[in-house]
């Protein structure tokens, strides 16, 4: 009896033959601490420099079904798109009058840009993710600007000048986006009326072609505003 093929191995003659050993594990660790999109940007850029579009295609084949954000981002890269600075202006308009922000979901590059753009804003990050991560290290990397909170402690951040920012992904044209599971745990009738705004920041506003593993489809109407990053 043969052993089962591990996820992302691509099978005995699959694309993993061309992929470095440990790619899946390395990506999983990076995605857990940088965010799915942030990790994918780094991996795709490095692979593209080394192996060009063929390498990005192989990366997508190896990891795509396990990491749908990476799959979508790699697909966008192959279509000619390149990551740029996050679009902050539309989000900052929604944060006018907001003094405290609780963030759900992790994308380190976007979080860094946001805290730099609003030095006066108090920011909490819900330290819970489906992927394993060293939250002490993640928070330490935020330069003292971000505090960790849990699902209970986030209510200590409630108030008329407080908002929740949820990082989402996917094409919202059909009225849904993909949110991290922490949003499902948090989004309830106890939380919703205690924060002035419930904002979705769409990190990767493109259609996914694989099942959105690690994330869940939620209604755009869950949020009081939705802006692309």
């Amino acid at each position: 009896m043969s052993s089962p093929t591990p996820p992302g191995s691509g099978g005995p003659s699959g694309p993993c033959d061309a992929a470095p050993p440990g790619l899946l594990q390395a990506f999983r660790t990076a995605a857990g601490e940088l965010g799915h999109a942030g990790a994918a940007e780094i991996f795709v850029r490095e692979i593209a420099e080394e192996r060009g579009d063929a390498g990005v295609t192989a990366f997508r084949d190896v990891l795509g079904r396990d990491f749908p954000v990476a799959d979508a981002l790699a697909g966008r890269w192959l279509a000619g798109w390149r990551p740029g600075p996050p679009a902050l202006a539309p989000l900052l308009r929604h944060l006018q009058g907001i003094h405290r922000l609780a963030v759900v979901g992790l994308e380190a590059r976007h979080l860094d840009a946001l805290v730099d753009a609003r030095p006066d804003l108090e920011v909490a990050l819900l330290a819970w993710n489906a992927l394993p991560a060293d939250w002490e290290r993640i928070i330490a990397n935020c330069g003292g600007r971000v505090q960790a909170v849990d699902l209970d402690g986030i209510f200590g951040w409630a108030g008329p000048h407080s908002a929740v920012l949820c990082l989402v992904y996917g094409d919202p044209a059909a009225g849904t986006v993909y949110a991290p599971p922490a949003w499902l745990r948090l989004n309830g009738p106890d939380m919703r009326p205690q924060f002035r705004s419930l904002i979705a920041w769409n990190i990767l506003p493109v259609a996914f072609t694989v099942y959105p593993r690690w994330f869940h489809e939620v209604q755009v109407d869950d949020f009081t505003a939705l802006e692309d990053a």
């Binding site: 009058g97 209510f155 409630a158 108030g159 407080s162 106890d190 009326p193 205690q194 002035r196």
Partner: protein, 160 residues
């Protein structure tokens, strides 16, 4: 427009939702909540959160009271009118004795409750507590309606 009734002869939730005019409610509340962002927050709490029948009932009562106030030419809160906080009800273990809880940006004008209390401070206090307690959609709708009624009473009192 979705069907008004389903098989149990109750209005469909989507039909109730479509009957709610957030802009109208925002206009009614504007004299008490000048900041547009804060007003949007309170309007959402009243007609965007909680059970759909509460949303519909609160909207109907507030829209009607708003219409009465408008016909009377009510200018909104009187001097020093809406001065009582509507606290957010945090989980009890997060409440701090040395610190007031955060409050909603809509404050209560107690003039109507004062009329009922007839100068009895204890009665006033329990009524204030009753109308500001409970789920936020309920408490805020209570306070918005009491503010409108206070404005209406004030206007009626000014008439010869």
């Amino acid at each position: 427009m979705p069907p008004l009734h389903h098989s149990h002869d109750r209005a469909a939730a989507s039909a109730i939702a479509q009957a709610l005019d957030a802009e109208r409610l925002a206009r009614i509340l504007a004299p008490w909540i000048p900041d547009p962002g804060e007003r949007t927050f309170v309007v959402r709490c009243i007609i965007g959160e909680g059970p759909i029948h509460h949303r519909g009932a609160s909207y109907a009562l507030l829209a009607l009271a708003g219409a009465v106030a408008e016909r009377l030419g009510s200018p909104g809160p009187g001097p020093g009118g809406a001065d009582l906080a509507v606290p957010m009800r945090l989980p009890p273990h997060l409440e701090r004795r040395d610190q007031d809880p955060p409050a909603y940006p809509l404050r209560l004008d107690p003039a109507g409750l004062d009329l009922l209390a007839g100068g009895e401070e204890d009665i006033r206090q329990v009524l204030v507590d009753a109308v500001t307690d409970g789920p936020p959609h309920h408490a805020l709708a209570n306070v918005a309606l009491l503010n409108l009624l206070a404005a209406i009473l004030r206007r009626i009192g000014e008439r010869p």
